[in-house]
Symmetry: C2
Subunit: 392 residues, 2 copies
């Protein structure tokens, strides 16, 4: 017999995320290619205690089927935190629990995209989003992302000329670039979108991880009826539980809920309960401060080493939060070549090309600074500098 | 602004599963409408102990990101069990962990179905499958399901005339009918499919729950290269962890893996670890024997009460396993009317119509016999008989 796959299966780009995990598991290679939060900041003991209490007090409920929208006390926690941190009023019934924000990417695309619809995003843009959206066979449009956010002239042109169903962006410490939109850019983006039918899909996976601890106002606060806002516990508590969330206007969330139910009924209920119990009895702000300060130190070290150890022509973004930065290689150096040579030299970087959905990015690499300590960053950067030098 | 949803969002049928949960949570109503395994058979203590050991010995690994295919020891357990129980040789690398078998429905449809492709299933067919497939806008074809399995003449015609991408079936204790394919039907189905490009998608959520404890041979054993076989821990361990799996030939599984990664990266790793640890140290066979025997007693009681308490013209299937049976109402009695009157009479049944994807089924109801004890089944059936009588 001949397997007859759907047309969409030919348009999915090759999977780089899987390849990352393979490289990351080799202990001889210092990998800046992955995207893991630092395991040292996962409060195993605290989560274990919360789990014990859930099993003791409501184990058989936590292990049964539950509702698609997600555990109410967890949604209440998220709602309260938005109100307290950002002054956003998002009631729990406008919040839906998902399997990490990756699932949100799939389901938003599912409810909005017809084949050949336009979808817009940042250039470079998040690889996981490109992969998820690709299954719905859209036409991608991208807008250059700089230190202040998307190029506004290009943004306006793309929105006006192509009327994308949504613009997908990560205004806070973007993956892969580490760039953060300025307050002015947020207002301008909202203003441009206001008179259109294009949704702003605001992925806020990193908004809690500003090194200075100060929150930035989400675009969702400016045009709430026109925004889908997603968040995740993966970077601030633990990724292995796969708990994220989405906030959306009721009309959108009703469709999202229907799609989520068909996709997997509901997210893991046991972990929703454990997480809610954990958050009840722990100081999340202090935990996040610890993580952010450590990532900030790592980031500054990496920037300094990129400036000091590398040959001229190497440049990089200067993140103020998150887990990633983007470096641009000296002229003539290709990132795929650097990737291959790096593996032999005991250091892994992620070539930037898969983040450029309309092509380009050959001279860029994404560097992760969250997953290891300063000594290992130092050692890895020395290895990388040596490899870069050898290739020039 | 005007929300511009994808065309697929108009073709999704109204969500009945959500409505079920609402009815099920009212303690004054005895609900035969849900699909929950009996909470009494969830080994909260055992799972709690397994969880403690995971947290103690490998907590920070279990709480990190993991690979898309799923935790290898868990896949090895599934592989071993297939070999031991059914003589099937399915290596772990042909098994992928999913968020309950519901996710498998979504992803199989995603990798196979173009808009307007044909997909075939049983009549009546599983509602969750209809909901999941509908998002890919296929043309549904169905084949009457009887006490021996699908009507073979109709099956052959549908496969030959419409060349569906796949036939979705539940050969063991089907949901909603409780019917089980005979051994002869399994062979005939495999024989008919052999010369075609139609996949047999074998959903085996209930194959462990035969009241006599004897396994039935899966169709996947007859035409392994042409089958996708899914299973779940929801009915035999606990649904709240959302852990199921799919087995497929390598060429199919590679696509499935790609779709799963884009959908949510990987399933909850913590629960995969807990489950694997639990299975290491518990006698699953003995646990399943306890569940199956209890469900068998419930089922026989329900059949007896349907025969004894109800007016003439009421008929029902006679399951040999699983959690559901289908009853046919006396002539002239509509199941939606019975549903509404039942709620007032303190008993909920599920109208059969949403299980008939091409229409029909108005005189049928699905009855669940797994979620409660015999006293409550007795009380509920008495209430239901009274309501039926009042409507005639």
């Amino acid at each position: 017999m001949q397997y007859q796959f759907a047309d969409r299966m030919t348009c999915a780009p090759p999977s780089f995320l899987g390849r990352l995990f393979a490289v990351s598991s080799n202990p001889d290679i210092i990998s800046f290619a992955g995207g893991l939060p630092n395991s040292a900041f996962i409060d195993t003991q605290g989560i274990s205690t919360a789990a014990s209490r859930v099993f003791e007090e409501e184990g058989s409920v936590a292990l049964q089927y539950s509702t698609t929208d997600g555990y109410l006390p967890l949604r209440e926690f998220i709602s309260d935190r938005y109100s307290r941190r950002l002054g956003l009023s998002i009631p729990p019934d406008q919040i839906q629990i998902v399997n990490g924000s990756q699932q949100c990417l799939d389901l938003v695309a599912k409810i909005f995209l017809n084949t050949h619809d336009h979808v817009a995003m940042e250039r470079p843009g998040y690889l996981g989003a490109i992969e998820a959206f690709s299954f719905y066979e859209p036409v991608f449009r991208d807008v250059a992302l700089g230190p202040e956010g998307p190029d506004l002239a290009e943004f306006e042109t793309v929105i006006r000329d192509f009327r994308p169903k949504f613009f997908y962006g990560i205004p806070n410490s973007q993956n892969p670039s580490g760039q953060t939109y300025s307050g002015e850019t947020r207002k301008a983006v909202a203003e441009i979108l206001k008179s259109t039918d294009t949704i702003f899909y605001e992925d806020d996976a990193f908004g809690e991880l500003f090194f200075d601890g100060k929150p930035r106002q989400p675009v969702a606060g400016l045009i709430p009826d026109q925004c889908i806002l997603s968040g995740s516990f993966s970077k601030i508590i633990a990724p292995g539980m796969r708990i994220g969330w989405v906030c959306a206007p009721p009309e959108i969330l009703a469709r999202f809920n229907c799609a989520k139910q068909a996709a997997d009924l509901h997210s893991n209920f046991l972990c929703q309960k454990i997480l809610a119990r954990y958050l009840e009895s722990h100081d999340l702000d202090s935990h996040i401060r610890t993580i952010s300060e450590a990532y900030g130190k790592n980031c500054r070290l990496m920037c300094d080493l990129l400036d000091d150890l590398f040959p001229a022509g190497m440049s990089h973004t200067t993140p103020i939060g998150g887990m990633f930065m983007l470096a641009t290689l000296p002229e003539g150096l290709d990132s795929m070549k650097l990737f291959e040579a790096g593996i032999k030299g005991g250091v892994a970087v992620l070539p930037g090309t898969p983040f450029y959905v309309t092509g380009g990015g050959q001279s860029t690499i994404r560097l992760n600074f969250s997953s290891m300590d300063e000594a290992r960053i130092f050692e890895g950067m020395e290895r990388l500098a040596k490899v870069v030098r050898s290739l020039l």
